[in-house]
Amino acid sequence: MGGVLPLVGKRLLLGVGTLFVVSLIIFWAVEALPGDVAQQILGQSATQETVDALREELGLNKSPFTRYFEWLVGAVQGDFGVSLANKRSVTAQIAPRFANTLFLAAYAAVISVPLAIFLGVLTALYRNSVFDRVTNALSLVSISSPEFFLGYVLIAFFAVQSQLFPSISNVTAGMDFDERIYRTTLPAVTLALVVTAYMMRMTRAAIINLLASPYIEMARLKGVPNGRVITHHALPNALAPIINVVALNLAYLITGVVLVEVVFVYPGVGQLLVDSVTKRDFPVVQACCLIFAATFIMFNLIADVGSILSNPRLRHPK
C-alpha cells in the first residue's frame, strides 16, 4: 500500500488548500463590493446613525483581515454569524435546511446511481442497438431540458392531473419517514432524471473504452464466456471510471438541487440561497456558497481518491 497513501494524502491536502482559497474568494468577493456595505444594505435614505450602528454590528470597523480570520474560524466551528435580514443566527437557519437538502440529494442518488450504472453498462454492451439508440436519445432530451421544465412537467402530470403526489414538497421537522419520502418523490425524480442521463452517458463511454482494451479481446480468445468477461475482466477495471463518474455526478447533483428546491418550494439550502440573493443577505449567501463549494470539492476529492484506490497499478506498486 506504500505507493497509495502519499498520493491520497497529497490529494487530500490539495482539497483542503482549494477549500481555503475558495473561502478567500467567497469572503473577498463581498469585500470587493464598491462603496459601503452598510450603506448599500440600508439604502441611500438611511441616516448616518443607523449606518454607523450597522457598521458596528457587522464589525466593518475592524480591518478586513481580522474579519476574514474571525469569519473563517467561526465557519470552521459552524458559526456563520448573523443574518442581515432577520438577525437570526445563520447556522440555526441553515442546519435544518441542510439536512433536508442532503435528504433530497440522497434520495435522488439512491434512484439514479444504480439505474445509471445499469443502463450505462447495458447500452455499452449492446451499443448501436435499438435499445442503445432510444436510451441515448431519451437521455439527450433529459440533459437538454432545464430542471424547472422537467419539474413542472412532473407536477402537471403527477400532481395536477393524476394527483398521485403533492405539487409542493413542504416537509417539516417532525414528519415521519414515509411521509417525507412521499413528499420528496417528485423533486427527487426530477433531479434523478437529469443526473441519471449524465451518469449513464459517462458510464457508457467509460465501459466502451474499456471493452476495446486488448485484454478483453485476449479473454475472449481464451474462451472465456461473455458473462465472465464482463464480471471478471471488465468490471474490476471499470471500478475506477465508474467511481469517478458517480462522484462527479453527485457533485453536479448538489448544484441541480437549487432549481428543483425552488420549483417544489422545498425547504432546503438552495431555496434559502436564492431568497438571500434576492434580499442581498450577504452572511447567508456566503455561508450557503461555502457549504455548496465544500460539498462539491469533497465529491471531486472522492472521485480522485476513488480512482487512485481502485487502480491496481497503484495498489500493487513494483
Binding site: M218, R220, L221, K222, G223, V224, P236, N237, P312, H316
Partner: protein, 552 residues
C-alpha cells in the same frame, strides 16, 4: 522430431469484410491455408496485408467492424465459420491459443499472472487449480523466466516486457493446445530481448509439438521460426513454400522485391583528411530530464558529406542527443560546435542562420506534417521564411524540390498530407528539410515506420541527395541493416553513454566492445539456421536480457 502429417487447420477461400464509411469492403480476398499438426507456418506481409485478421479468423474470431463473408475455416474437421458460439468458445484457449503483440496491454491489470494463466484450464475443466499452478511454474521454468516459483504471483505491471511476452506464451501453452497463433509477439521488443523470446517460443513449440501460425512483418524472424512461409499482399496470397526454398528461390516478383530490400548498401566513404574541421561536434554532453540523467559525457564528430549512424536500444539516449544538438534540450554540461563555433544551448537563442543549417526529418511522417496545410505550403514555408521567396519564384523553387524528391509537382502541390502514402509523406518531410538549404540533417528513425520496400526507396533518395548536395547526416536508428546500408561512421550508445564508435567497416568486424557484440549478434539474419547456430555458439544463457544483465 517426428511431425504427424494429418491436417490440423484448413482455411478455404476465406473472405473477410471490414465496415468503413457506412459500407462493407472486402479486406481478405479468398485466402487458402493448410497447416499440419506440429507444423509452424509463417504469415508474412506488410501492414494492411490482412495477416492478423486471418490469424484471428483461424480461431473463428473477428474484431468489431469485421465479418467473415465467405469460405470456411476447418479446424480438426469442424468448420469454425458455421460452428455455434459455445463450440467455438470450447476450442479457444484449450485447443487453439493466441499470443498477442503487446503482452503489457493484453494481460488484465487487475489480476495476477498465474490467475490469468490458469483461467482457461479451469473454465474448460481440464484440471484442478493447484495442478494448473504447478504446471504454470513448470512452464515458466521451461521458458527460462527468472524466479519461476514466484513470478506468477505478480501483477502484469510488475514484470518487464520481454518476460511478460514469455509469460503469455506460457499461458497459451497452459492447456497444451494443438495450435497457437503468434501475432507479432516480438515486434514491440528491443533486439536483445527479442532473441530470447524467439528462442523460448521456438523451443517450447518444438517440445510440445504444437502447430503454430507465426504472424510477422520481419523476414529474418520468420526465417528462424517457420517451417513454411506464406506471403500476403493486401488480403491476397502471393505465394507459399517451404522456408528454405522460399528464401533461396522465391517465384513471384513481389516476394523477390521483399527479399532484395536488404541488398542496398553503399560503400563507406573515405575518412575526411585530418586537417578538415568537423561540421558538427558534440563534446562531453551531459543532459537530463528533470532530475533523471539521460546523457553522460557524449562526444562524437560529424564531417561534411558523411553519415554518422547512432545506434542503440530504446532508452539509450539517441533521440536525446538529437534534441541537444537542435537546442530543444539544453545540455547540463558540454557543448555543441557547428563548423568550429559553439552553438547557443537553446534554440531560442540561435540565429536564423544557425537554425537553418540544422534540419530534422522525423520518424512518424503523420505527425511531422501539419494535416491542414497543402504540400506546397509545407515545403514553401522554409523557402519563404529563410529565403524570402514570393510568388512565381517561390512556386518554381517548390516545384524544383518536389522534382528532387521524385513527386510530380502538378499532382502533389495542392494535396493535403492525408492524401499521401506513408512513403510520400516521408519524402515531403525530406523536402521541407531541404527547403531550408541546410548542411546537416538529423534523420530520426526515418525508415522504421515504413514498409521495407518503401524504406529502401527513402534510403536511396537520401543517399542521392547527400551526393548531390554534400549533406552531413546523423542517422538515428535501432536497425542495423539501415546502418549497414547508409553509414560511414557508427556510434553505439547504451544507457546515455557512447559505448564504442568508429568507421562502419571496422565496427562491423570483430573484435567488438561487449555490448556492440551483443547488439550485433542479436539482430536476426535471413539464414534459417542463424538462431540455432547462435544458441549453439553462445548457450541460451548468453543471449538477450540474461547476457545484458551479466555485462552491466
Amino acid at each position: 522430431m517426428v511431425k504427424e502429417k494429418s491436417v490440423l487447420l484448413e482455411i478455404k477461400d476465406l473472405r473477410i469484410e471490414g465496415y468503413s464509411d457506412e459500407e462493407w469492403i472486402e479486406i481478405v480476398h479468398g485466402v487458402n491455408l493448410t497447416l499440419h499438426r506440429g507444423e509452424v507456418m509463417g504469415l508474412i506481409g506488410e501492414s494492411g496485408a490482412g495477416k492478423s485478421t486471418i490469424g484471428l479468423a483461424a480461431m473463428g474470431f473477428t474484431r468489431d467492424g469485421c465479418r467473415i463473408s465467405g469460405g470456411s475455416v476447418l479446424f480438426d474437421g469442424m468448420d469454425l465459420t458455421t460452428a455455434s458460439r459455445a463450440e467455438r468458445r470450447a476450442l479457444r484457449g484449450s485447443r487453439i491459443a493466441y499470443v498477442a503483440q503487446s503482452a503489457a496491454a493484453s494481460f488484465n491489470p487487475a489480476h495476477k499472472l498465474i490467475e490469468q494463466h490458469t483461467e482457461s484450464g479451469r473454465l474448460h475443466k481440464i484440471s484442478s487449480k493447484s495442478e494448473m499452478e504447478a504446471d504454470a511454474i513448470e512452464l515458466y521454468r521451461r521458458l527460462r523466466l527468472p524466479n519461476p516459483e514466484e513470478i506468477g504471483f505478480r501483477y502484469p505491471h510488475q514484470v518487464s516486457g520481454g518476460q511478460l511476452q514469455r509469460a503469455m506464451t506460457a499461458m497459451a501453452m497452459s492447456c497444451r493446445p494443438d495450435l497457437i497463433i503468434f501475432d507479432e509477439p516480438t515486434t514491440a521488443l528491443d533486439v536483445t530481448t527479442q532473441i530470447e523470446v524467439l528462442a523460448a517460443i521456438r523451443d517450447i513449440v518444438e517440445q510440445f509439438n504444437t502447430a503454430a501460425l507465426y504472424i510477422t512483418h520481419d523476414l529474418a524472424v520468420v526465417a528462424q521460426m517457420a517451417d513454411r512461409i506464406k506471403v500476403l499482399l493486401k488480403g491476397d496470397e502471393v505465394e507459399e513454400a517451404e522456408t528454405r526454398k522460399m528464401l533461396a528461390d522465391p517465384e513471384e516478383d513481389y516476394t523477390k522485391s521483399l527479399w532484395s530490400v536488404r541488398s542496398f548498401e553503399r560503400e563507406q566513404k573515405p575518412p575526411p583528411p585530418a586537417s578538415e574541421k568537423p561540421l558538427i561536434s558534440v563534446r562531453n554532453v551531459d543532459a537530463s530530464y528533470g532530475p533523471v540523467p539521460v546523457l553522460k559525457g557524449v562526444s562524437f564528430d560529424i564531417y561534411r558529406g558523411q553519415t554518422v549512424a547512432v545506434v542503440g536500444e530504446s532508452g539509450s539516449g539517441k533521440s536525446t542527443t538529437a534534441r541537444c544538438i537542435t537546442g530543444l534540450l539544453p545540455p547540463d554540461a558540454g557543448e555543441i560546435l557547428y563548423d568550429g563555433h559553439v552553438l547557443p544551448a537553446r534554440y531560442q537563442n540561435r540565429s536564423k542562420e544557425q537554425l537553418r543549417q540544422v534540419q530534422m526529418i522525423y520518424q512518424m511522417a503523420d505527425t511531422a506534417l501539419n494535416p491542414k496545410k497543402t504540400i506546397g505550403e509545407i515545403i514553401g514555408r522554409p523557402l519563404q521564411f529563410y529565403g524570402g521567396l514570393r510568388g512565381a519564384e517561390l512556386k518554381t523553387a517548390i516545384d524544383q524540390l518536389l522534382d528532387q524528391i521524385e513527386l510530380e509537382p502538378s499532382l502533389y502541390y495542392k494535396r493535403l498530407p492525408s492524401e499521401l502514402s506513408g512513403g510520400q509523406k516521408q519524402r515531403v518531410g525530406i523536402a521541407r528539410a531541404l527547403a531550408a538549404g541546410p548542411t546537416f540533417i538529423i534523420c530520426d528513425e526515418v525508415t522504421s515506420a515504413l514498409d521495407q520496400l518503401v524504406a529502401e526507396g527513402i534510403l536511396r533518395l537520401l543517399d542521392r541527395l547527400q551526393k548531390e548536395l554534400d549533406l552531413a547526416y546523423m542517422f538515428i536508428t535501432h536497425d542495423l541493416a539501415t546502418v549497414r546500408a547508409i553509414s560511414d561512421v557508427v556510434v553505439v550508445m547504451k544507457e546515455g553513454e557512447v559505448v564504442e564508435q568508429g568507421p562502419k567497416d571496422v565496427m562491423f568486424k570483430p573484435p567488438h566492445h561487449e555490448y556492440t557484440d551483443l547488439l550485433l549478434s542479436s539482430v536476426p539474419e535471413m539464414d534459417p539456421d542463424w538462431l540455432t547456430h547462435l544458441l549453439e555458439e553462445r548457450g541460451v544463457d548468453n543471449v538477450g536480457e540474461a547476457a545484458h544483465d551479466k555485462k552491466t
